[in-house]
């Protein structure tokens, strides 16, 4: 099976103006502490089709941008039926009074052109309708028509970044486990999709159980666990060619919970030897294995700090599942979780400032975050079973899966921001879905 994940080499970004960030304070202060924030009213004027074939692209691109922005919970879109003004040219002067009359605080205008060889060009401008000033300068994206969705996400990322001062996350993908069948005979296969559920593709069939895929930093390879050979083993999948291989061909032991190092050159995972699960590091070039933990407890779910110097993992060495941090080459581990309940599946934020985790307390599951020293713990979700957080590329949003209880219980993927208020189900083409892993921003 040949899969092309992100081979969009043709996507050319022409940022006509260099500074992506406004010099002044961000228009929106992204709240990461759970306070209330009032969404800003944003209007997207109908994008202007500059060529005959551009009409559908113009409408669809504006729609995806609006969906990206409103999905953050930071923006409220003013529907086009309420618009008074029409924008006929990307360079026309703006009738701000007409936009203020419908309470628009932000205004996006855009224009789309198609070329005879399948090209697509999109331009946009962003305005603060209150101060009547342009935010940043106009941007032009050029790509192929098949890439219209990615172009829309890139524009939305640019808008988000200009308004919040934070990196974007819309032009990204998610690899996950698509599930089907009854609870006691579930079929699982790897699938990948855009962060918003579009462009879903299956990467494996459902002949063998597969678990917990993880993107390589370059997005071209995926680590996952498969029962293809009868026992759980870590596999490496080349996304472009569809080729897959067992990471450690000679290993007799069960291995699982793999993750790439930030430089992509090594892998941490756990392996069970005689019933005892410890953490190992595998050099990808040589496949040489180094044991990082060595005790009788369950040590699993390792995740690197973004600078590659430390590993956070879970261990029951103290009697119950808790989070520990150790140097990336092993050594003394320091416990960082001290609250009530059990802590599992720690994942270091790509920004380095937080660690997300699953917490089991009083028979309920939560997704939460804490600082790497264990301070500032906050729980963002609660349900019968919330598990396995994964960070958006900007470290400000998480995906995880939520499984319902009972004989018809099944998992779906959700996203939640760090305020804990913007909780949304991510569509996965109608199938059950678990174990999401977010890519970095696409290139």
């Amino acid at each position: 099976m040949k899969i092309r994940l992100t081979s969009l080499f043709a996507l050319v970004i022409a940022l006509l103006a260099a500074p992506l960030f406004a010099q002044e304070r961000p228009v929106i202060e992204l709240d990461i502490n759970g306070g209330m924030i009032e969404p800003m009213n944003i209007a997207l004027a109908s994008f202007i089709p500059e060529t005959d074939g551009a009409g559908d692209y113009a409408a669809n691109i504006a729609s995806v941008i609006a969906s990206d922005l409103t999905g953050t919970g930071l923006f409220r879109e003013i529907p086009s039926t309420a618009h008074i003004a029409r924008v006929d040219s990307i360079d026309a002067s703006i009738e701000f009074g007409d936009w203020r009359a419908i309470n628009a605080q932000l205004l996006v205008i855009g224009a789309v052109a198609t070329g005879s060889n399948g090209e697509l060009t999109v331009k946009f401008r962003l305005y603060d309708a209150v101060t009547q000033r342009e935010i940043g300068s106009d941007v032009q994206l050029a790509g192929s028509q098949g890439q219209w969705r990615r172009m829309a996400h890139k524009l939305a990322d640019t808008i988000y970044t200009r308004l919040t001062g934070q990196g974007g996350y819309f032009d990204s993908r998610v690899v996950f486990v698509a599930e089907s069948g009854p609870k006691d005979a579930r079929l699982k296969r790897l699938a990948v999709m855009d962060y918003d559920g579009a462009n879903l593709q299956y990467l494996t069939d459902d002949a063998a159980l597969v678990l917990a895929p993880r993107f390589a930093p370059n997005g071209r390879e995926i680590l996952y666990t498969s029962y293809e050979n009868g026992l759980p083993q870590v596999f490496l999948l080349d996304v472009d060619t569809g080729q897959r291989e067992v990471l450690l061909a000679d290993a007799q032991n069960m291995s699982f919970a793999p993750r790439f190092a930030p430089d992509g050159l090594s892998v941490v995972m756990s392996s069970s030897d005689g019933g005892n699960t410890d953490i190992y590091r595998v050099d990808l070039a040589s496949r040489a294995t180094t044991r990082l933990t060595n005790d009788g407890s369950i040590d699993t779910a390792p995740s690197f700090s973004p600078d590659g110097s430390q590993i956070v993992f879970e261990s029951d060495r103290g009697g119950s599942q808790q989070l520990y941090v150790m140097p990336a080459n092993g050594g003394e581990a320091v416990r960082i979780s001290f609250g009530e309940g059990r802590y599992a599946t720690p994942v270091w934020s790509p920004r380095g400032d937080l660690i997300a985790f699953t917490k089991i307390m009083g028979g309920r599951f939560h997704i939460g975050v804490m600082r790497p020293d264990g301070s500032g713990e906050r729980l963002l979700t609660e349900s019968f079973l919330d598990e396995a957080p994964t960070w958006a590329p900007n470290g400000r949003v998480l995906m995880f899966f939520r499984e319902t209880s009972g004989e018809n219980g099944a998992p779906q993927i959700y996203s939640v921001d760090l305020s804990g208020r913007t909780l949304r189900m991510v569509p996965t083409a109608g199938s059950f879905a678990s174990d999401p892993a977010w890519s970095g921003l696409l290139r």
Binding site: D184, G275, I298, I360, G406
Partner: protein, 168 residues
């Protein structure tokens, strides 16, 4: 295949529960239960997979988050061991399982502990380690699908799957 196996396991648990009511049985103790059932269902060949799974019981259960074999579990394992001694060409795969009240990776490790716990006991009783392989399914293959302790207790289990030497 997995569907078939699940159905088989469900049967075996019922059979096991029935046997356990008859009290512990040693090397040949299973014959009591076997005779009783044989009267209704016809004789089951003692060397058969069916006999092992249903009369002896292929499954033992564990306490929450524990991998120590319980007294009841040890009784079943002793009967399994007696059978394995009698049919030394049989190989076994021990599956460790966990209930759904844990995270995926931890449950894989917990299932590995449970499977190893059974293996270690069998080896301590003289079963050759080379006859035994182990696998953990964590919470991936529940036997019972409700979300109450009644089902969870059945899912915290180790299953002895017999293979090899079945050509007779």
């Amino acid at each position: 295949m997995n569907v078939i196996k699940s159905a088989m396991l469900a049967l075996s648990v019922l059979a096991m529960a029935a046997c356990q009511n008859g009290g512990p049985f040693g090397n040949r103790g299973g014959a009591d239960g076997a005779d009783g059932a044989a009267g209704a269902n016809g004789a089951i060949e003692e060397s058969s997979l069916e006999y092992f799974n249903e009369r002896i019981g292929d499954t033992i259960q564990f306490q929450v988050d524990q991998s120590t074999v319980t007294d009841a579990g040890q009784t079943v394992l002793d009967a399994q061991i007696a059978w394995l001694r009698q049919y030394p060409d049989r190989m076994i795969l021990i599956e460790g399982h966990a209930d759904e009240q844990g995270t995926r990776e931890y449950n894989l490790a917990l299932g590995a502990r449970r499977a190893a716990s059974v293996r270690n006991y069998m080896v301590s009783q003289g079963i050759l380690e080379s006859r035994i392989s182990v696998v953990s399914y964590g919470k991936e293959r529940p036997l019972a699908v409700c979300s109450t302790e009644e089902c969870w207790s059945r899912n915290r289990r180790a299953v002895t799957v017999v293979s090899g030497g079945m050509g007779a």
